[in-house]
Symmetry: C2
Subunit: 432 residues, 2 copies
C-alpha cells in the first residue's frame, strides 16, 4: 500500500472560509425558485413600477450612430463617467436642499459603483483588517454583516430605539472598548440613516449631529469613520425632510456617503455611487481598478440621461405613490391579522420597503424554526428572519423578529401574505 | 501646550496599502485626458466597431411593456441569469467544437460577472492569503499582477518563448519551491492562453496538455489550480484553432476558465463569465453575494439576446476583419519604421490587440524613462511600458519592452503613431 501522492483538496483563503453561505443568495434563490410563494422576504422592488419605457427612450437617445453613441459601449473610467459624477453631485445637492457649490466636494470625491453594495464592500476592503471593529445598529442590514464577516472584522451591534442607533449606547461601547484596550481596532460606524433595512428606523436629526461629534472625539488613535448608507433615502412617504449625516460633517472627512439607484429607479442597472473623503476615494479607486475598471458605461449613461431630463424625478414621484400604498396595505393587514395576538408589535416606517415585527418571545423565527417552516411549506409565505440582522455573537440579538417587505407583492397579495403569516404564528403559539 | 487628543490619520487596511496606485487607472486616465495623443497604450477597443445598432435592437426586443420586459430591470441572481448561463455553455461548446452535453459541466458551474476582470479578483479572493504563491508567464497581464499584489500574494514569473509559458521552466520553479519548503504556498498558475496581453503569445497545444499534467502531479499538498484567461480567444485572425486548457482537463476540477465579451462585443456592458470547478463556483458565489448580488440584469439580457439570435457571431466576423486590418497596419509600420533600428524585435500575433516589441537594451521604456517622456510629450504617442508586465522583483524582468495596442486607433493613426515612436526611439539612441 502506498500513500497518495496528490491531494484533491482546495486550500481556500481565510477570506473564503469566513464568507459563509450567504443569507442573501439563499433568499434570492428561494424567491426565484418559489415564485408561487408570497414573498414578504425579497428586497426586490415592485416590477410593475420599473421604468421600462423610460430606459428604452433614454437608450434611444444615447445609443446613436455617431461617435458619442459608440462611446457609450466603450469602457468608462474606474471612478465613473465624469459628467455623470457632476449630475450626481447636483442630485445630492437637491436632496440636501442646497446647491453644488455649497456641498464642499467635487467630482473627484465621487465614485460610481455597481449599486451601493459595491461601495460597502470596497470600504470594508480598504479599511478593515481581520480583528478590526465596526459598530452597527442592532438590527442592521444583514448583507453588510456578511461583508464584515468575510473581511474578518469584528462587528458590535449597538442598541436602537425609535430614533435609530442610541448615541448613549454607542458612547458606552466606545468607553468599554477603550478600557479593554481595543479602541484602536475600532475603525468604522455603519449607519443606515433612513428607513433602515430591516428596522424601518430613521436616525433623528439630533443623533445625526451627535454621531459626528462622537466620531471626532473618539478619533484618539486614528480617524474614526462613518459609513452612511442612504439606500432608501428617496423612498420617503411621509415625515420630515432630514439632511444626511454626511452633510452634518463640516469637515467632509468623517463620513462616507453611499447611495444607490437600485431602489429608486432600477436594480437591473446596478448603478450606485459614493461621496467620499478624498483619501478614501483614492483608496477605493485603487481596489476598484483591480476589480472591474469602473462600472458599465451603458448603465451610467442611462442614469445620466434620466437625471438630466428630469424623467428620474418624475418617475420617483410615481414610485413613492405606489410604495406608499403598499406600505399602508401592509400596516393595515398587520392591524387586521396580528392586532389581537398578544406580544406582537411592529414599527410604522415613514419610507423604505420594510416593516419590522417582533413576535412573542416563545416564537422563534429563524431559517430552522417551526414558524419559518410552517410559513414557507404550509402557508406559502416567506419572510426574513430577524436574527440574521444581528451579529451572531451579539448580546442584544433577538430570535423572535421578522423583516416583512412590501416591495414585490401587490396590496392584495401583501394582505394575503400577512394573513397566512398570522395563521402560521397562531399555529406556533397554539402548539407551544 | 497640550498634546492633540485626536488623530486625523486614516488607519487603512493591509489590502489598501498593498493596492498601490494602479497602472491601469493611470493609463486609462491619461488616455481620456490626452485625446489628441495617439494611443498605442489603451486596451480599449475600436469604437467604430462597437455594436450600437445591435444593442439598440436587442433592447427594443427585450425591454417590452409586459412582465418579461419589466423583469429585465429587476435584480438577477448572484450567479447570473439561468438562461444566459445555458447560452454561455452553448457558446463555449461551439468554441470547443463539441456539444453542450459533452462539456461535462452544467449551468451551476457558470458565474456571470462584470467582465472577466471580476472573476480574476474573485479567484484571488477565495484562494490566496498573504504569502501564497501564484505562477504567471513573464510578461503577463499587468492588472492581474496588481490584483495579486493587493491580496498579498507572491507572484513568480515563468519564462516564455514563442509557444508561451515554458513548461520546463514551470517545473523547475516548482522543484525549487519544493526544495525551499514553499510548495504548499503555491496555489495557482495563471495563463492567458490565446494572444496573451501583452506578449501576443499563444500557448501551444502540447503545453496545454502538459500544464494539466503538471498541475496534477504537483498537487502534493492541495489541488493546484489553473486560472485560464481567454479574454482574446475570439479575436483570432489567423493560425490554427486550439482547444482551451480547460477542455484538456478531463477532471473539470483543475481549471477555472475566464471569458469576457468586453473585447469581442462591448466593454461598456461589462459582461464576462467563468466556468468553474464546482467547489470554486460555490466559493465565488459567496464572495460575489457580498459584492453586488450578481451583475446587471439588463446587460445580461442584452448578451443573451444577441447570442440567441446569432447577431453576436455575425458581429464577431466583422470585428475580426477590422482588427486583422489594424494588426497588419501595425506590423507593416513596425517593418517600415523600426526595421532598420538595430536590436529591435517584435512578435507577430495571430490575434488579440497587441504587438510586443523589444528595444535595444540601452533604451529603457518605463513611465519615468526618457523614451516614455519623449514619446508622450514631444511626439504625442503613448504605449504601455513592458516592465509593468512583470512582478517587480522578477529576475526575468526586462526594462526595454513595449506593449503596442492596435485596438483604438485607425490604420492611418497606427502608422503615424509607430512613426512617432520610432522617432522617439532614435532620439534616445542618438542621445545615449
Amino acid at each position: 500500500m502506498t500513500v497518495a501522492t496528490t491531494s484533491n483538496e482546495i486550500a481556500f483563503s481565510q477570506r473564503r472560509h469566513r464568507a459563509a453561505r450567504q443569507s442573501i443568495s439563499y433568499l434570492m434563490q428561494q424567491g426565484i425558485e418559489n415564485r408561487d410563494v408570497i414573498s414578504l422576504a425579497a428586497g426586490f422592488v415592485d416590477e410593475a413600477t420599473l421604468p421600462v419605457q423610460l430606459v428604452r427612450d433614454s437608450i434611444g437617445n444615447i445609443l446613436t450612430d455617431d461617435p458619442a453613441g459608440h462611446h457609450v459601449l466603450q469602457y468608462s473610467t474606474t471612478a465613473g463617467d465624469r459628467d455623470l459624477r457632476g449630475l450626481l453631485l447636483e442630485h445630492l445637492a437637491g436632496l440636501e436642499q442646497t446647491d453644488v457649490s455649497s456641498l464642499g466636494v467635487n467630482v473627484d470625491d465621487v465614485v460610481v459603483t455597481a449599486g451601493s453594495q459595491q461601495i460597502l464592500q470596497h470600504v470594508a476592503d480598504v479599511l478593515l483588517d481581520p480583528g478590526d471593529i465596526c459598530l452597527v445598529a442592532g438590527p442592521t442590514y444583514f448583507v453588510f454583516l456578511s461583508t464584515l464577516n468575510a473581511v474578518g472584522a469584528r462587528t458590535i451591534a449597538i442598541e436602537t430605539d425609535e430614533h435609530g442607533m442610541r448615541m448613549d449606547a454607542l458612547e458606552a461601547t466606545l468607553e468599554q472598548l477603550e478600557q479593554s484596550g481595543e479602541l484602536q481596532r475600532v475603525k468604522l460606524i455603519y449607519l443606515v440613516s433612513w428607513f433602515e433595512n430591516p428596522s424601518g428606523l430613521t436616525l433623528s436629526l439630533d443623533r445625526r449631529r451627535q454621531v459626528i461629534d462622537i466620531a471626532e472625539s473618539w478619533s484618539k488613535h486614528h480617524r474614526l469613520l462613518i459609513l452612511e448608507d442612504t439606500a432608501y433615502r428617496e423612498l420617503q412617504y411621509d415625515g420630515e425632510t432630514l439632511p444626511s449625516v454626511w452633510s452634518c460633517d463640516d469637515s467632509r472627512e468623517r463620513v462616507i456617503l453611499a447611495q444607490t439607484f437600485s431602489k429608486s429607479f432600477s436594480p437591473g442597472l446596478r448603478v450606485g455611487y459614493g461621496v467620499l473623503p478624498s483619501d478614501i476615494a483614492a483608496a477605493i479607486h485603487d481596489v476598484k481598478g483591480n476589480l472591474d475598471f469602473g462600472s458599465a458605461n451603458l448603465n451610467q449613461q442611462i442614469l445620466a440621461s434620466v437625471l438630466r431630463s428630469g424623467a428620474y424625478a418624475q418617475h420617483l414621484d410615481e414610485l413613492r405613490q405606489a410604495y406608499r400604498g403598499k406600505r399602508d396595505a401592509m400596516l393595515a393587514a398587520a392591524d387586521r391579522y396580528f392586532g389581537d395576538i398578544p406580544g406582537v408589535s411592529w414599527h410604522h416606517p415613514e419610507g423604505g420597503l420594510y416593516v419590522w415585527m417582533t413576535l412573542p418571545e416563545s416564537v422563534a423565527s429563524g431559517f430552522d424554526s417551526r414558524l419559518f417552516d410552517r410559513a414557507a411549506s404550509t402557508e406559502g409565505v416567506m419572510f426574513v428572519p430577524g436574527e440574521i440582522c444581528y451579529p451572531d455573537d451579539s448580546d442584544i440579538r433577538q430570535l423572535n423578529q421578522m423583516r416583512l417587505s412590501f416591495g414585490v407583492e401587490t396590496p392584495e397579495t401583501i394582505d394575503a401574505g400577512m394573513q397566512r403569516l398570522a395563521s402560521a404564528t397562531r399555529w406556533c403559539l397554539d402548539d407551544s
